[in-house]
């Protein structure tokens, strides 16, 4: 089996193009966060992690986020807010 089709070698980050947004578009309300990990599980780019019982968003998420909004939907505590990044920035899909 040739290397190139192998899924386990697939590097998601090299397969997306993101124009970094100049402002934040995801916000976490730490007071509301219960550390349930829903965001950590759902994020297709692994941009959330749990630190000391609270969700933490990767500091460079603006370079990597694909704007799916999964974390926003998955958070049943309404601790995560998601709005679109500024017009003309963010994920660029060429072959979708």
């Amino acid at each position: 089996m040739s290397e190139k089709v192998r899924g386990e070698r697939l590097d998601r980050f090299s397969l997306v193009e993101v124009i970094p947004a100049a402002r934040d578009f995801i916000a976490l309300d730490e007071e509301r966060c219960t550390g349930c990990k829903a965001c950590v599980i759902i994020c297709p780019m692994d941009l959330w992690e749990l630190r000391e019982g609270k969700a933490v968003l990767a500091p460079d998420y603006r370079d990597k986020c694909v704007e799916c909004g999964s974390c926003f939907i998955a958070c049943e505590e309404d601790a995560i807010d998601f709005t679109y990044p500024p017009a003309g920035t963010g994920i660029v899909y060429k072959n979708a």
Binding site: V5, G7, P44, C68, I73, A96
Partner: protein, 465 residues
């Protein structure tokens, strides 16, 4: 600051169809899109159903480089992980019972959303709509409780008596209007896709017109494969396992699950045969409802497509639904503007018409249809079902291993052994069919009543209810 008859937020298939319809009818229409070009942000919906050609003549001249015809569908049923080898597959061409000619000719046409969305936006512009790109709506203009326009991030305002929200699953307009903050986790699917490049000759030789295929495996649900002219999409996990509420409950990352199951030997062999190489990673949320949402309009606002939660309850197909609801929304907007009443009670006719339309009909027995698909997430049931079909096929038709009389007679014990599985299937199918028949009957009675009242009106008699 500008004044329009209609503002459409989002230049996807729903928004562009709405803008095209309105502009054609003479409305001064503004179409706003947050990205740099239509289709830049859309990562799903590249298999367009033949229904779109039935309903939209604007597609008649559509010839786009990425298009591949889908005249044959294949469902592959694999053994459970980790083996995931092919157990049986079912392939089929179109049925001659389908009620319209395009449906008898093909199932779907695969097309890149980047091309389809641009094509439809061009149609809207040709019809006279103004398209404004890189325009992010962040506020609504209100007047006497009704929505009367939008505000862009830069502060610029545009006014119109009706705004159509075609801004997708995370609809900003729905949120700003207070219709909802967001869909619930059990109403949304998180679909991941690996896009591969592949030479056209290889795809022509290996896949040809079998451009839509699904790979089912007990406990995994169905990964799907959509072949384009020069590339293919492998997506998953199946809607059951990518339903956000289910992901949280199972605590299994959907992206990881897709990447793990992409390695199923049959898909590997196919990718190899097509000389495919990964090109793009795409993720998108899809609304997946079992009943048609009703909170899809407000005074001066109509929601269409994913913003209205209209993808159908079996596979979450949504592009045709977006186009259909987009056109209907513009027709309603035109009537309301002409009547000078764009209040919520005036725009409510959109909901009624949508419910009675083919888009609404897709939700008949939606709960049962969704349960049918959820079965694929039950490893035991789905595994038993797969093996029962294999047993029946092999012993009744494909046997050369033992005397035919011996194997054919096994049909009865096979069915008897699987009676519990079949009963569970029937437990889903039967109520679904009863609901569908009852609804068909209701519609027929309603249409007869409608005819009576219509003829009553013509005769000058009293109109029925």
């Amino acid at each position: 600051m500008g004044d329009y008859d209609l503002i459409v937020v989002g230049a996807g298939p729903g928004g562009s169809t709405a803008a095209m319809t309105a502009a054609k009818a003479g409305m001064k229409t503004l179409l706003l899109e947050r990205s740099r070009y239509p289709g830049e942000k859309n990562a799903s919906g590249c298999a367009l159903s033949s229904k779109a050609w039935r309903d939209f003549s604007c597609l008649d001249d559509m010839e786009l480089p990425s298009m591949r015809m889908g005249r044959y569908c294949i469902a592959h049923f694999l053994s459970p992980p980790p083996q995931m080898e092919e157990r049986f597959s079912f392939g089929s061409g179109t049925s001659q019972r389908i009620s319209y000619p395009e449906g008898r000719d093909f199932f779907t046409v695969s097309v890149l959303r980047r091309e389809l969305d641009q094509f439809l936006a061009d149609k809207a512009v040709e019809a006279g709509a103004e398209l404004e790109l890189t325009s992010l709506v962040t506020g609504l203009v209100r007047q006497a409780g009704e929505i009367k326009g939008v505000r862009l991030e830069g502060g610029e305002e545009f006014r119109a008596p009706v705004v159509i929200g075609a801004d997708g699953v995370l609809s900003t307009t729905a949120r700003l209007a207070g219709l909802r903050d967001k869909w619930r986790p059990d109403q949304v699917v998180s679909a991941c896709v690996v896009d591969y490049s592949a030479p056209r000759e290889r795809l022509d030789a290996v896949i040809h017109e079998a451009s839509f295929q699904a790979y089912f495996s007990p406990g995994i649900g169905g990964n799907f494969l959509i072949a384009l002219a020069e590339g293919l999409h492998l997506g998953g996990p199946g809607v059951t396992n990518s339903l956000v509420s289910r992901v949280i409950r199972r605590r299994k990352k959907p992206a990881r699950e897709l990447l793990d199951t992409l390695l199923a030997p049959p898909t590997r062999r196919l990718l190899e045969a097509c000389d495919a190489a990964p090109r793009e990673w795409q993720v998108h949320l899809l609304p997946w409802m079992d009943t048609m949402p009703t909170d899809i309009f407000a005074g001066g606002l109509i929601l269409v497509g994913d913003a209205a939660g209209l993808p159908e309850p079996l596979y979450a197909e949504g592009v045709w639904q977006a186009m259909y609801s987009g056109r209907l929304a513009s027709q309603v907007a035109l009537e309301a503007v002409e009547e000078g009443d764009t209040s919520a009670s005036s725009l409510q006719r959109y909901l009624h018409r949508l419910k009675e339309s083919p888009v609404g009909q897709e939700f008949i027995a939606g709960r049962e249809l969704r349960r049918l698909f959820e079965m694929a997430g039950d490893p035991k049931l789905f595994g038993d079902l797969t093996e029962m079909i294999v047993d029946l096929m092999v012993n009744m038709f494909m046997t050369a291993q033992e005397p035919k009389a011996e194997t054919i007679a096994r049909a009865f014990p096979i069915v008897a052994k699987n009676l519990p599985v079949l009963l569970r299937m029937a437990g889903i199918y039967m109520p679904a069919m009863l609901k569908i028949w009852r609804e068909k009957l209701r519609r027929q009675v309603a249409s007869i009543k409608g005819l009576e009242s219509a003829s009553g009106e013509i005769k000058g008699g009293e109109a029925g209810p």
